[in-house]
């Protein structure tokens, strides 16, 4: 069943125990929604000397959107914003690949587990919700896209 390729254990782990989830307290806080299902995320980013020193997010959503936000937070914290954006680009390409890309595990680490999502076009937006919120908040924070 295709389902297991979508719902890998890593995803359900992050879903059950999301990282960096909490009340977003940074100065640059954004609120994104996925209007077709009503999923919402509030996220704040703290940049210190060009580095992502903190990401905190809160929200409601499906396992994919929650796990993806959690994985994303792990990935970007501690990186320069350039590096973070590079990961984001890699991840976006993977999501939009309709199952044709496998993704670079070196770069994407746990996010590789989300590669199955690309075969379910209606879920791609779920996976990208947190990432887009991060990008938006970082840019408002002064990071260059």
């Amino acid at each position: 069943m295709d389902l297991d390729s979508l719902y890998q254990d890593v995803i359900l782990d992050h879903y059950k125990n999301p990282h960096h989830k909490g009340e977003p307290s940074g100065e640059f806080k954004v609120h994104h929604v996925n209007p077709s299902c009503g999923d919402e995320i509030t996220l704040s980013v703290t940049l210190t000397a060009g580095q992502v020193s903190d990401v905190t997010w809160n929200g409601v959503g499906c396992s994919i959107s929650q796990a993806s936000a959690s994985i994303m937070s792990d990935l970007v914290v501690g990186r320069t914003s350039q590096d973070a954006f590079a990961i984001l680009d890699e991840f976006t390409s993977l999501m939009q690949s309709k199952g044709t890309l496998v993704g670079n595990e070196e770069v994407l680490e746990d996010a590789i587990a989300l590669s199955g999502v690309s075969k379910f076009p209606a879920r791609v937006k779920c996976a990208l919700l947190g990432w887009m919120a991060f990008k938006d908040a970082a840019i408002q924070n002064g990071a260059k896209a």
Binding site: M1, L3, Y7, L12, C37, G38, G61, C62, I64, R123
Partner: protein
């Protein structure tokens, strides 16, 4: 279970059921609340129009133009017969959404009693689809009118306890759904309509979820306007109906301006054609009108009362099934009283998207999320629901697959 409809033979009229879903599964289509599938009769009617009668209606005096006009006006007559109304009261729009926006904008532009301006009151309910909330909400914002609404009870009925303070003499329009597209619940309309008329307000009924599924009489309901969408009634996409009482339509300003809706035009001034043309600017959606007429004819052939009874049998079986599955909650009416064939439910703490994904593996097509009725979902304190909705082409075995897949969805996430 015996049923009043010969679903096997009905299914054969709908080519989509020959398609294979993910994993080679057959299609268990339980999303007719969003859009219906199309019988061959509808596809053929559209194709026949394009292949044999296509020309701009009302504008040419050549043979094909006469044929096209006859087809288009014939379609209007079929819709009128279906609704048991005068044919010049039937307006073709692109969708129920456009029909409702058209009313809101026309009331804004119309002088006289139908005008909506500062201090006037518009009444809706918490059950409404966005299409019957936003046009009124935004009209109120633009004009300084006041939007009021009936609250929803947890069982999907409306709280009518303060009807007297909701519908006051300042009320101009009550716009309300005939059936919730989320919960399937049917609000108690009679007291609302009576109260509206008692204060001289007009009543707009959103029949999207009722007109395709059961006999609906505007006469018996005593409403002033009715809207529904063709694509939910076996018809093509890109067509909707706006019905209104002639005496009201006659007073109303156009919504769209352009060709075929005018009487005279100069650079600085224009006057309008009679109803219904006044509300059909431009070359109309001719083929879609003809297709919708074929769809309604098909429905009439099967019988709306039969369709309703059939759907209620499936609804009963589904409710019984869902209510007996541990972890599953039915949202809205728990039995078949005051409801139609639309059922919302949740499973454990699962997000509806995740539920829908598992169901999809079984070929089950359901809608998940807020169903374009976000205020209702918020009121229930949910993130969304999973919604199954029935139509004439569904049968017992569809319900069986649904129930099987619901258990599978629960277990898939429970065990991990």
């Amino acid at each position: 279970m015996p049923t009043i409809l010969d679903v096997a033979s009905i299914k054969r009229d709908f080519p989509i059921f020959d398609e294979k879903m993910r994993g080679g599964r057959r299609l268990v289509f339980l999303d007719s609340g969003a859009t219906s599938q199309k019988p061959i009769a509808v596809l053929d009617a559209e194709r026949d129009f394009y292949s044999r009668r296509n020309a701009a209606v009302h504008r040419g005096s050549y043979f094909l133009a006469e044929e096209a006009s006859a087809a288009f006006e014939g379609a209007r007559q079929i819709v009128a017969n279906f609704l048991e109304v005068r044919s010049d009261e039937v307006i073709f729009t692109k969708s129920a959404t456009e029909s409702l926006n058209a009313l809101a904008v026309s009331f804004e532009r119309t002088k006289g009693v139908l005008n909506i301006g500062p201090g006037d009151e518009i009444v809706v309910s918490e059950l409404e689809h966005h299409a019957n909330l936003l046009p009124w909400q935004q009209l109120a914002k633009r004009t300084g009118a006041v939007l009021k609404w009936f609250g929803m009870n947890p069982d999907g009925s409306l709280d009518l306890s303060s009807i007297g303070s909701i519908i006051t003499p300042r009320c101009k329009v009550v716009a309300i759904t005939h059936q919730s597209n989320v919960l399937g619940s049917v609000p108690d309309l009679a007291p609302i309509i009576a109260a509206a008329h008692a204060v001289g307000a007009v009543v707009v009924l959103d029949g999207c979820q009722s007109v395709p599924h059961q006999p609906v009489s505007v006469e018996d309901l005593d409403v002033d306007f009715l809207v529904f969408s063709g694509h939910k009634a076996l018809g093509p996409t890109g067509i909707g109906i706006l019905w209104g009482r002639y005496e009201l339509l006659e007073q109303m300003e156009p919504f769209l301006y352009g060709g075929s809706m005018i009487e005279t035009v100069t650079m600085t001034d224009s006057t309008w054609a009679a109803v219904p043309k006044r509300f059909e600017a431009g070359v109309p959606n001719m083929a879609q009108a003809v297709g919708l007429a074929a769809g309604l004819t098909y429905l009439k052939g099967v019988g709306l009362a039969n369709i309703h009874q059939h759907e209620m049998e499936l609804t009963k079986k589904t409710l019984d099934g869902l209510l007996s599955i541990d972890g599953v909650k039915v949202i809205g009416p728990q039995d078949t009283k005051n409801r139609g064939g639309v059922i919302s439910f949740t499973i454990d703490q699962l997000h509806p998207h995740d539920v829908g994904q598992v169901l999809d593996q079984y070929g089950v097509a359901v809608r998940t999320g807020h169903h374009c009725a976000w205020p209702l979902i918020r009121k229930l304190g949910l993130m969304g629901t999973t919604r199954a909705s029935f139509y004439l082409y569904n049968d017992d075995s569809d319900v069986d697959v649904l129930l099987e897949s619901v258990v599978a969805a629960r277990d898939y996430f429970r065990k991990r």
